[in-house]
């Protein structure tokens, strides 16, 4: 549940700036003997702080480096020495094999990119439109509809009826639609978007109404541009959800041509024999000595590559998202 707490942070980022300044002051204010003692404590505290944070950061980062390093280690070295933080015998063999037979992987990439693009655009449109209606204070059934949406987070029919609906009644098994449709709307995103739109001054809507603008036009022309920060954040949450989705594929996709990237990785991690056969039959490798271990790691690297590259640029939107919906839904 990526954003269950999103609306519950309670504080918005407005105070951040002034608090950062306030934080700088104690250092300046600490003059004299007594202050010297405080400074000593502060130094110790900072030492502990940097040490603990350093260890935590290393633990968060090292597994990624291990995977990267393992993917660049020669298979014989892995079999002899195991996975190591630095490749003892460097080898790009795993990547060579991966890229001499790239069709399946590229197709998985294509599926994921397509699903993410369509799902994010459509999801963002529907999320913002729904949220806009619920944010209109003059809308008579605002409360009832809000409850209609919210109730689905409290109670659900469970996996089985939902599964049977998709497979037996909607007949969506092995379609691209099944990778997009079930994740299109999320109540928490609607609530966060609605809280943001609640902050847009009503006078804007009122004056547009005076000018004779219809409700949809007000939403499309006035509200959407004003809601850009929320759109960016929610859009990225939706996109990340689609990019990382493997669950819908696990349940509903068996056609190899429709496998998204994460599910493809999942399949390959669990089924190296299948991969070995595919590689041999495709002629990418001639004998059975396929570097399975380094290949698994290389595929993992290829699967997370784009996320890690985009990460430094998109991270702040996620941080924003956690503090944006401070108003209760």
């Amino acid at each position: 549940m990526p954003c269950a707490g999103m609306t519950k942070t309670g504080r918005c980022s407005k105070g951040e700036m002034s608090n950062m300044q306030a934080q700088a002051q104690p250092a300046a204010a600490s003059a004299g003997k007594k202050a010297g003692k405080i400074k000593g404590d502060l130094l110790l505290f900072q030492l502990i702080g940097y040490a603990v944070l350093g260890v935590m950061s290393a633990i968060c980062l090292l597994p990624f480096l291990l995977v990267l390093s393992s993917s660049l280690t020669s298979e014989s070295s892995i079999i002899e020495n195991g996975f190591q933080l630095l490749p003892s015998v460097f080898s790009g063999e795993a990547y060579r094999i991966l890229f001499t037979y790239p069709e399946q992987m590229l197709r998985a990439y294509g599926v994921t990119i397509g699903v993410t693009a369509i799902g994010t655009l459509l999801g963002l449109f529907l999320t913002s439109m729904t949220a806009y209606v619920l944010s209109r204070k003059d809308f008579k059934w605002r409360g009832s509809f809000s409850f209609f949406f919210f109730f689905t987070t409290l109670f659900s029919g469970g996996l089985v009826p939902w599964y049977l609906l998709v497979v037996n009644y909607l007949h969506l098994k092995d379609t691209l639609i099944v990778l997009i449709l079930p994740m299109l709307l999320n109540v928490f995103y609607i609530i966060v978007m609605k809280s943001f739109m609640n902050g847009i001054p009503e006078a804007i809507v009122e004056s547009a109404k005076m000018d004779g603008a219809g409700d949809f036009l007000i939403y499309a022309r006035l509200i959407l541009p004003l809601a850009k920060p929320a759109l960016a954040t929610i859009g990225l949450f939706i996109a990340l959800g689609y990019w990382n989705d493997w669950y819908n594929a696990l349940l509903f996709v068996s056609n190899e041509n429709l496998m998204p990237l994460q599910y493809y990785l999942y399949k390959m991690l669990g089924n190296m024999d299948g991969m070995r056969k595919a590689l041999i039959s495709s002629g990418a490798v001639v004998n059975t000595s396929i570097p399975t271990e380094s290949l698994k790691m290389a595929m993992t690297v290829v699967a997370i590559g784009p996320i890690l590259l985009a990460y430094p640029f998109i991270q702040r939107y996620f941080v924003q998202g956690l503090t944006i919906g401070s108003v209760k839904g």
């Binding site: 608090n19 996975f83 029919g157 469970g158 089985v160 790691m297």
Partner: protein, 306 residues
Amino acid sequence: MNRSGFLGDVLKYRTLLLMLLPGVLFFILFAYIPMAGIVLAFKQFNYAGGVFGSPWNGLDNFRFFFESGDAWRVTRNTALYNIAFIIVNNVLQIAAAILLFEAARPWFRKIFQTMLFLPYFISWVVVGAIAYNLFNYDYGTLNVVLKALGMQPLDVYNTASYWPLLLVLISAWKALGYGSVMYLAAITGMDREMYEAAEIDGANIFQRMLHITIPNLYPTVIILVLLAVGNIFRGDFGMFYNMVGNNGILFSSTDVIDTYVFRSLTTNNDIGMSSAAGFYQSILGFVTILLANYAVRRYDKDRALF
């Protein structure tokens, strides 16, 4: 137009209602219609009859689920794991948030935060690959280190008793950045005057942490923990499935309601029993979230879900 009553209102709000229609249809289709499918829990499902045409079999599905002992095992696992996650994750997240705010300079704070947040962005499949890299018996990094230290390697994937600890650590690892950002926001929003006053009075940084920062975080902690408690019967399927998968050796200590329902459906194709287990979970979840919300409401009315 001067019509009144329901029709008049429909007409008046027709554009807004039309704009709401796709969302309403979506949740009717994917949330409310499946709720009606709960009848499956009381039926002997067959494909010819479908959801509504299959014959009733009373509480047989539930009897089977409870008498096998599975119900107790998966319920206990789900609740215990979630309780452990709530405690460990929140303690680490609060510690990280306090240190990020009070100890690290802004530039370092950004660097640390970026690194802590990284695991949040990857899928559970990738976490599964990472776990494989770390815990694989023959080549795993853990065993490489253990062997280098002259110790016996651990057969992690064949030993059920290691997994509660491992899953708690993995959950903490993935949630640390996300949670610490939430707590960081709460700390950032605190009134700094108290700190300055305390500092002038000679309170050192440790005293200020203990007597100002942490007590000031209580409201946020209580709310977040209560909301999490409302979800203790909902297991994180992605995590359990990608760490454990269909490795039956580990089920005794790792099977949660969600993985159990999934397996009953996909492996055993037992529609009736998996529906019963799913319904049981829905009811448990519904009751706990109502109780949690009631508790939040009593504590701080404004922060309640509803």
